[in-house]
Amino acid sequence: MRLTLHVWRQSGPSTPGKLETYPIDGVDADMSFLEMFDMLNEQLTLEGKEPVAFAHDCREGICGSCNMMISGQAHGPWKGATTCQLHMRAFKDGDEIWVEPWRAKAFPMVKDLVVDRSAFDRIIQAGGYISVNTGGARDANEILIGKEVVDESMDAAACIGCGACVAACPNASASLFTGAKITHLGLLPQGQPERDRRALAMVEQMDLEGFGHCTLTGECQEACPKEISIDVIKRMNRDYAVAAARYVEPKETAGAG
């Protein structure tokens, strides 16, 4: 098939960007969306132009690198799929497609379709873990966890950190991402000791990074390639409220020897 692409080009963070139009021919329905971009880039290179920079790696929907806003939809028209999982059979001959990067204050522009999502790492640094050093863990089967609990925890743990939730949100909130981590760890018995601290610290970091506030519009769960439910946000809000009311930072004890 023959398509017309309008692709966001911006050579760096401080230069202005604009949409460039590229006709592309010979696109096969069995190609993935990113294979179509490979084809475009080969074409641009041979024409002596600079290829489009875009993020990708695994090409199977798990690394969370790819991030294209495709005709206004984060990751494009397929539900529960990432940009790399989208295949060209979702389009038809003659279609025009607009491709832009994620847009959010907390995701600064890098180049073309690449943005900086390191804010997500800093939210995890704030408390998205269980503090156990290597060694000394007790036998794994000594902690009993019901199948339903672990399944629900896994639903939230499936987050790939892609940022589609932020891109789709009218407020550019990172609540689905943060809520998913708080839910993954907060449901498990191992996650209980730090549950209050974690909720407070992660939510505060999310605000510090400049993400917007959640107004529960639900756009995030529509865009999420892992179909994470906004229930995780409700859980985060509850955990945060409880923690804010009862949590006291433990005193550092030096140990008297």
Partner: protein
Amino acid sequence: MTELNSRIPAGPIEKKWDQHRFDMKLVNPANKRKYDVIVVGAGLAGASAAATMAELGYNVSCFVFHDSPRRAHSIAAQGGINAAKNYQNDGDSVYRLFYDTVKGGDFRAREANVYRLAQVSVNIIDQCVAQGVPFAREYGGLLANRSFGGAQVSRTFYARGQTGQQLLIGAYQALERQIALGKVKMHTHSEMLELVVADGRARGIVVRNLLTGAVTAHAADAVVLATGGYGNVFFLSTNAMYSNVTASWRAHKKGAAFANPCYTQIHPTCIPVSGEHQSKLTLMSESLRNDGRVWVPKKQGDTRPPSQIPESERDYYLERKYPSFGNLAPRDIASRAAKEACDDGRGVGPGGLGVYLDFADSIKRLGKKTISERYGNLFDMYQRITDENPYEVPMRIYPAVHYTMGGLWVDYNLMSNVPGLHVIGEANFSDHGANRLGASALMQGLADGYFVLPYTIGNYLAGVKPEKVDVNTHPAFTDAVRAVKQQGETLLGIKGKRTVDSFHKELGKIMWDKCGMARTREGLEEALQRIPALREEFWRNVNVPGSGASLNQSLEKAGRVADFIELGELMCRDALHREESCGGHFRVEYQDDGEAQRNDDDFAYVAAWEWAGNGQAQRLLKEPLVYENVKMATRSYK
């Protein structure tokens, strides 16, 4: 000439690791913070090692080319991780896991390493659960297991079809915690392009910042490479697009021996190639072979849809040839059997390059719900790519390059022959011999990173004084920086007519045809003519657009492809010299009734190749393999 000393501790195999830990020198806790350690890579191996060493007190700097450590290729592992827990009470033990791995590797792995791997496997599961990894559980709350190829016990732990993701997230979170504590300094978007060897020791690296193009040098008391495998030398593989050999290759050129480069794993269950545009191949987890049955039509050229081929006209060839392991035959064997069926004209789908993996019987027996619970996400993935519904029609699968058993040579302490340079995870050659069993790479990566390297590196560091070097004046550093800048400028200056990808694809095709599932002397000799010619053309005719002063994905790729071309040549040379068939290395001339014919008299050694200079053939070093516990036998899965 370099001598390889494997440093295997003396004593009975069950005691070696304990005794060695006792004998090793320790760095006292107050001194640990005086030592700087560089870790390159933050996949399962790198992230677990960096976090654990930081917990112990070392100053760790971690470098990745990704934008976040969470994106490492390990994230894509689907099926599971092995451990000798014997939770299913089905006769598993450390010894059995050890034995299965040695046998699975076709008796080409180092016994002592494999035994240690099996020993620490049980600690990995405990550690991961403590971190919050949501492994699958039974209703009663205990951990669930599944079976994988090459084993007759159920010892594989899993988190749906996303085991690698969950394990990596666990290690990533531990790493992020250490970053927050200031014990790990994380450098993202930083690609290592040189190893710095000063005064006979690995003392640092040179990296290029992929966003700004800045080239900088970093010094440390020890360097750890955890940079993954090199399957992408074939262009098409199941590896992530960015996986590459550059870190290992540049270290190789600085003296690190490259071991068994020709041992590559071709995974039997991947989605077949659909056309010229194909950029990578998608794995369908081996766990599917627990419930899927592999078959082809008995008749050649049978184009009827599968539903119209009656039971009696189907050949369930794995069940027929290997009755005791059936569909769970090891990967090398299952792949070769698929190739044979297709070569025989009985393949299915476009071009006859596919075999069926059929769930109809399991769905009948267990119900669609159970199957969907076990493999739902894999079935969805398959449908998205092929537009076919595997609940209704059998999947079509074909073998694809998946994993590389070869890698930088390391001793028992996971140190290469360059003092101070340690190599862990898929990047080293250590534990899988000529063929890796399913669910054992995650186990090895985490064993190395959590439980082995953090001890053994102390033994090395205790023997060297913590010393600062000035990277701005020490010639080893300034030379390395100059070399990196020079290479970038050269690549940008060629301005030839062919794209980087076109070279990569051509190399991949040579490798797949001549050094893939079946290798011949003639084919390898031909490849050894064609690859140097391709290298020559690359350096004359490649077109790398853009500049080196900002994000330039073509330039990144060009450097990696240049290294792949050199590696490809070495792989062919290794494959040519190994005149036997073992595991993933199948030489057509050496077979016995279709089964691999190993030659223990002449080839029971690790082939480690030492760099001899640009354009020169590498020198072969041999580490003999001595089996004191397992008797070398012809591998049989019949």
